[in-house]
């Protein structure tokens, strides 16, 4: 947990460096006449202070200082901090990957085809459904949502490959 905390604080620190360089390049102006870079710079400096405080809190906690731990919030308080019994990393990566591919194909392949593939994969590979059922459900839901959103609610969903026919 301490290591994760340190990573997250480190990520914030990197972000602060990038953002502060960028905001200085914008016109910062002065307190009386703030330019477009003024507000972002104030924010990044403040964020930098917080990031350093978070880093200090994690290193102090590593040395077993209880009080520092309280200051940064006890690790057991957050929802993600509880001991997680078994993480199914494969399923997590597959879900996120499927969403990424779905998004990439959403316009090119068109809503209906992309959605069929997306749903069939999630239902067939990641949920305990047999492939024929997963594919049938994918087709059904894809067509139904297309009808509801595109035809009825007038949300223009991409036709993609099917549109060329």
């Amino acid at each position: 947990m301490v290591r994760r905390e340190a990573w997250s604080a480190g990520a914030l620190a990197v972000l602060v460096v990038v953002a502060s360089i960028h905001s200085i390049r914008l016109d910062v102006g002065s307190v009386a006449r703030p330019g477009p870079g003024f507000f972002p710079l104030v924010l990044t400096v403040a964020l930098g202070v917080v990031a350093v405080a978070l880093l200090l809190a994690t290193t102090r906690r590593r040395h077993g200082d209880q009080r520092a731990g309280e200051e940064a919030g006890p690790a057991s308080e957050g929802p993600g901090a509880e001991p997680i019994p078994r993480i199914r990393l494969g399923k997590l990566v597959a879900t996120a990957g499927a969403l990424a591919i779905y998004i990439a194909l959403f316009e090119r392949l068109g809503f209906i085809l992309a959605t069929i593939g997306f749903l069939a994969f999630l239902l067939g590979a990641l949920a305990p459904y047999r492939w024929p059922i997963a594919i049938a459900a994918g087709v059904l839901v894809a067509l139904a949502t297309y009808l509801v959103f595109d035809t009825w609610l007038q949300v223009r969903l991409p036709a993609g490959v099917l549109g060329r026919w």
């Binding site: 994760r4 964020l47 405080a53 957050g78 990393l89 399923k91 996120a96 998004i103 969903l157």
Partner: protein, 500 residues
Amino acid sequence: MDVLGSLAYGLAVSLAPANLLACLLGVLVGTLIGVLPGIGPVATMSILLPVTYAMSPTASIIMLAGIYYGAMYGGSTTSILANIPGETTSVVTCLDGYQMARQGRAGAALGIAAFGSFIAGTLSVLGITLLAPPLSAAALRFGPPEIFAVLLLGFTLLTHLSGGSKLKTAAMALLGMLLGTVGIDPISGVARFTFGTIALNDGVGLVPMIMGLFGVSEVLLNVEREVQQAVYRAPIAGLLPTRADWKASVGPIGRGSVLGFFLGILPGIGAIIPTFVAYGLERRLSRHPERFGHGAIEGVAGPEAANNAATGGAMIPLLTLGVAPNVPMAILLGAFLIHGVQPGPLMITERPELFWGVIASMYVGNVILLVLNLPLIGLWVQLLRVPYGLLFPLILLFCAIGVWSEAGNPADLVVLLVFGVVGYLMKKVAYEPAPLVLAFVLGRMAEESLRQSLLLSRGSAAILVTRPLASTLLTLAVAAAVLPIVVPRVRARVAARRGA
């Protein structure tokens, strides 16, 4: 128009067929997603936001608001029957609600949650009815400096009162404000943090960001761990609370309503904190605090009243100031703007049909919720048995459709994915997404109001302290920031001196 006349007018608006249908639809969908764990009102409101384009502004807002307070009703059902909070606002309800169900009192728990929600919901709408008009009038004196001071107060309250680590909350709030600066600066026209990407010129989209942080990330968290669905299976009898139940619950409902309403008004609080405060209060007041956690009906009645009352209280800053005090209200604010309405002090006179129609619809919606929900509980129980394996692909699909339908912009889908992954990582290290989103919305307003103030005063920051209202609010903000740090230390020192 006096309040009663205005309310009657609002009632007529809200009972027009289209608006009544919108209200019915909103509260039904709200209850539905409230019952389902893993999808909340925030994600749902964003998904349905584009659907409202074709509706009238009044019907849209009525429906979206209905989703929000409807979810408060639904969330308790899951907490009581499955020991999984249907919504984060019902986390506390699990403690005693599920114990009651295990003791065969599921009916009483569901019943008191529904009645408590109804009473609190109605009381809080009454609160809006009475407080919104004078507050709107007062808000007319709000210029950019006052708005800035209110927002600053909101930020300090946000950091101090949300649960968990203050440092982390502060980090999220600052990050949110920083994200809010992405895009073309409205005052100078310079592109900020776009790194040459045209898609970012309009800034990061609120809807894809919210759906990523609240919808996709929640799915990712749920698929990686085995979700145990231990739904209560015995038949549910006796939804009507007994006289003894009422006697035990009247006080908690009353206190929960008042507490929820006033905490809900404050920016940055939302509906979660009031439930914890209400639970703690009831336990402290109880003559038998040891019963809490073992099926005390007060532990269901108080928090459930508080979360419903908070939804009403949260409408006040939105309707009178145009400031969103929590994330769902930020979506509602977006809905107003999309329909070309600027919520704020002028709305009550310029758009009375909208102002009073929405308020009156909340009375109507609460009645619908009570009438519908008691008989429909069997249906919600069935719904709880829908396996997550079937549900999560649909949630992802609706997130994608919702994001696409807003502007048909493929870049928004990328934003959805990015924030889904970021939100997942954030929850892993116990960073809360709500302060980020809220600060994202309020940050833009804060920067604009600060720079407008400085333009007004020709560059003198003194404008923030010379105007009485602004300086009072600023003092409050500073006090809210400093007192929680100083008071415990002083108290500790005094105690130490006494001890010595």
